[in-house]
């Protein structure tokens, strides 16, 4: 029996098992709304019908059977559920900062459906998050695309089944500080980051070759010895074969061009650059490569490599043909991503549809799920946010958030205590003003080493 085949079968059976899990879906008729479809313009006085979690009709005066719940959205605005392309909510670990390469770990193994940050994201109209490993490593862990199904307690029920696998990479100050200055290991410089990338990809190629050779030998030699199993290089090989999408934490234009060069040499053609504050300097180059960008609206200056920034970044990238999204990287900012998108109108005059695409269809495409969510179209999944005013207005308040046709947030039933589990030993007056979900946590856990470093100097 070929060991590799055995592994594949084992993985496959797990995939089938988790797919077999019944995720609840709902029917819903939203009546008489202003529907912001994103991909098909704005439709006035329009109904949206969701059946079994899928949008089955968008039009005027739709009919549905008596038992389908109805939301009268007269005077309201319905948009696709917001998608946050860079988040760290709903997971117990962010950074495995012990090594410069940790491709084998996955935040998908430590999903936390009890995290109140998921509910708070729903309150801001966010229905899906790309929850990411941190940026302490050149090649960090794998990420997970989740749907905010608040109240389902099995972590597997948060997963967006079938979404492509993705992995976190990171360039620049974070990995060089943690490993170089913190542990006196490679990479200590931006050159070292390139070295680690090339070395690891080269090892993955050798790993692929070793297994291919073994499988060839095993056809004729039943006593062929399989090569050592390496879960890290398995993942790296999956990147080379295009089965895992890279999302790379990056700021400076020079190192982004370096990364594109490395990927070109190893035949990897899909990349989403995260943060990419200097993307505006190399927008044509990014467009030519086919790279996409996921940026902050106007966050900058929180460390040296982020000083050269502009709030026009999203607009410049968009106008240069780079598919762009705006993300939060924060359990606070994700509650008003629609405001963040609106800033691209103040800085860059994007149209309403272009601005809303930054937090809907564009992040969906970057995550490989553009055919399933991110716009209001027949056949897409029934994920909606219903606002009392146009979501790009500063006065807009989200009223209801729908995932798979089920209302998971309703401002009318938003009671004081929405927690799913309570620690019987916690004192009630514990007020968490500043939880780790609320802040940029790219260096969460990794920061331990940073503190060591600072103290030792």
């Amino acid at each position: 029996m070929k060991l590799k085949t055995f592994f594949l079968v084992a993985l496959l059976s797990v995939a089938i098992n988790s797919a077999a899990q019944e995720i609840p879906t709902g029917d819903l008729l939203v009546r008489n709304a202003t529907v912001l479809t994103i991909t098909n313009g704005t439709l006035e006085n329009t109904d949206v019908l969701i059946q079994d979690g899928i949008i089955t009709a968008v039009g005027e005066q739709l009919s549905a059977s008596q038992d389908v719940p109805v939301i009268d959205a007269t005077g309201m605005y319905v948009m696709p559920g917001i998608i946050d392309a860079h988040s760290h909510i709903g997971i117990s670990n962010v950074n495995e900062s012990s090594a410069p390469v940790t491709a084998q770990v996955s935040v998908g193994d430590v999903l936390n459906p009890y995290s109140i940050a998921i509910y708070r994201a729903l309150a801001g109209g966010v229905t899906s998050s790309h929850v990411m490993h941190g940026s302490a490593n050149v090649i960090g862990g794998q990420n997970e695309t989740i749907k905010h199904r608040w109240g389902l307690l099995d972590p597997d029920e948060l997963r967006m089944a079938g979404a492509p696998r993705t992995i976190k990479f990171a360039l620049g100050e974070n990995p060089t500080r943690v490993h170089g200055r913190g542990n006196n290991k490679r990479p200590a410089s931006r050159m070292g980051v390139e070295y680690v990338l090339r070395e690891t990809f080269a090892k993955a190629q050798r790993y692929q070759e070793a297994w291919a050779q073994y499988e060839e030998n095993a056809k004729t030699n039943p006593r062929a010895i399989p090569p050592a199993y390496n879960s890290q290089l398995e993942v790296m090989a999956n990147i080379l074969s295009g089965d895992i999408l890279i999302h790379c934490h990056s700021y400076r234009a020079d190192e982004i061009l370096m990364l594109l060069g490395v990927l070109e040499d190893f035949g990897v053609d899909q990349i989403t650059l995260q943060h990419v504050n200097e993307g505006f300097k190399i927008a044509p180059e990014l467009a030519e490569f086919g790279a996409t960008a996921s940026v902050f609206a106007d966050w900058w200056g929180y460390k040296f490599e982020v000083y050269y920034s502009t709030a026009y970044n999203a607009a410049i990238l968009t106008r240069n043909g780079v598919l762009t999204s705006i993300n939060s990287d924060s359990g606070e900012l994700n509650r008003h991503l629609y405001h963040e998108a609106a800033k691209s109108q103040k800085y860059g005059d994007l149209s309403d549809d272009e601005a809303l695409a930054l937090i809907t269809i564009n992040p969906a495409i970057q995550l490989g799920i553009g055919d399933r969510i991110g716009s209001i179209e027949v056949g897409k999944e029934g994920d909606l946010a219903i606002f009392d005013r146009h979501p790009l207005s500063v006065y807009a308040i989200n009223q209801k958030t729908v995932v798979d046709g089920i209302v998971y947030f309703d401002v009318e039933t938003d009671t004081d205590d929405m927690r799913l589990i309570v620690d019987p030993e916690s004192t009630v007056d514990t007020v968490v003003l500043h939880s780790h979900d609320d802040t940029h946590q790219c260096l969460y856990e990794g920061s331990l080493d940073l503190y060591d470093f600072l103290e030792s100097n």
């Binding site: 060991l3 055995f6 592994f7 084992a10 797990v14 098992n17 117990s92 670990n93 950074n95 495995e96 900062s97 012990s98 090594a99 410069p100 390469v101 940790t102 084998q104 770990v105 996955s106 935040v107 193994d109 430590v110 936390n112 009890y114 862990g141 307690l153 099995d154 972590p155 597997d156 542990n183 290991k185 006593r223 010895i225 399989p226 050592a228 199993y229 390496n230 879960s231 890290q232 039933t413 938003d414 009671t415 004081d416 205590d417 927690r419 589990i421 309570v422 620690d423 019987p424 030993e425 916690s426 004192t427 009630v428 007056d429 514990t430 856990e445 331990l448 080493d449």
Partner: protein, 595 residues
Amino acid sequence: MNVNYSTFAVAVCCIVLINQPVKAQVNSGESVPDVTRTIALTNAHVIQSPGQIQEQSNVIIRDGLIVAVGPDAAIPFDAIEISADSLTVYAGFIDGLSHTGIPQPRQQPEQERPDDPAFPPNELAGILPHRDVRGLLDPKDKRIASMRESGFTAAHVVPRGRMLPGLGAIILLGGDTPNEMVYRGETSLYAQLSGARRMYPGTDMAVIAKLRQLYRESERRHRVEQLYSENPTGLERPRYDPVHYAMFPVLEGNRPIYFQTDDVLDLHRVLSVQEELGFPAVLTGLSQSFDAIDKLKSANLPLLLTLELPKELRKDKKEPPTDSTKATPTDAPVALPEVMHLDYDPDLRVTSFTDIAIEKENLEARRHMAYKTHVSNAATLEAEGLSFGFSTGGASPSDLLTNVRKMVDEGLSETAALAALTTTPAQILGLTSSMGTVEVGKMGNLVVTKGSIFDEDGEIQYVFVDGRKYDVEPPKKSSGGGGESGANPVGTWSLTISSPDGEIAGTLTISGSDDDWSGTLIVEVDPEAAPLEYIAMTDNVLTFSFNAGGFGTISSSLTLDADSMNGSFDVPNVGPVSVSGTRTSGPEKSTQFYD
């Protein structure tokens, strides 16, 4: 041939008999052998197994074994007779999993830093699947005697550590040497989602990834080893390494992984990786299993539920004075002594900053509800048809029976509780032919009580381990004061807090009396006094919590002994930190509370 066999059997018996005095000598640790190893408990109420009761029966133990049980069981001439007219006999309790007999290192050794945190040696990373707990046993560990005094006669013990601490063993809670205690070795592999400190694997997700890597590579090496043992000619020699090779019995299905789960998230994570890799497993801990019942049912794995329960926080009758200074006239009178019994209103919506008192009461009610949910976890498992044994890991020996009684109060049947203490752990650990019931042929492991073990007044009189009798002193009752509490916490105490960064001095001040305590804590690093909350004094144990700024809310539990106290502060994200204290001033005659 038959004749030969019986001759052989007789010869073996003779050898056993000849050896007997020598063995007894070793057992008792005295130079003079025991006069007899035959004991008769007469006229007892015998619970042979959960739900199966024999009235007015004799139980005869000879040479470490139960040789007769029943009303007509003859009392041998050489038996030490113990009149058990008003006593109940249970099978000795079996602890499903703990570190009993493995003392906690007094001082954590200076953390050695690996050359490369990405590739630390297995010893530093806590990956020791080949380490045998038998080499770590210490018969002088205080927990052995205190567990025995709670009725436990055998325990499945595992090493302390991180991800893979090592191999477990079944030990008897009696004996003078490690070897005497060992009943069976290499029974299990212990695992927990517990990362190494600042090296790989440091996080839960890395522990899971490491387990996958270790398991898959062990599968490969196992296969290579098989090929080589079939015929080594023409094959490169497989390299031995203890870590992967210790996984082979697991792959073969012969060595279950006992996987610790501290909360419901651990439970889901362990079940996922178990399903993925397919190793034989027993789940331990399970303190929040009430939230994953369906998943436990479909996993169908043996369960060992911890006997540790959350501490019950008591609401102060009076609001601390610090609050009343801030309070506005509308929310000042909050004194609701019955607050813990208020119904929780899930639909409550108050206007922020004006109805804080109402919201706080509601959250208190929710927390109390959460406490009840945790205590009734065992009853929930029983009601859902999930069988489980108890493990004592994490729980203080003095809490074990109290906690079983709390679980029974919350709806766990006494039959299920007794099964969880005896027959079910015996089944899970593969001990049914020798332990778990009071039946002929089983080991002489018994608990003898006055009153039911599940009654608050039930008292253990004797515990028998391997036929050896241990007398149990009834717990000291307080003689003075007249209240529930013996020691008096009132006064000023000088504390020493053994934090990971070294010892910190503190001053604890307690005033008030039963159910109306107040107090403050000052530590040397922060001169501002922290007011204590939820102060309670139960059975000489003083509990309270306080806000420690950046560390969060610390809950503490200190056991008082006249003028000294010992216990721990539970620091969020750090864990328990041991604390000791001595009285510097206090009630006039603190000693009046002690015999």
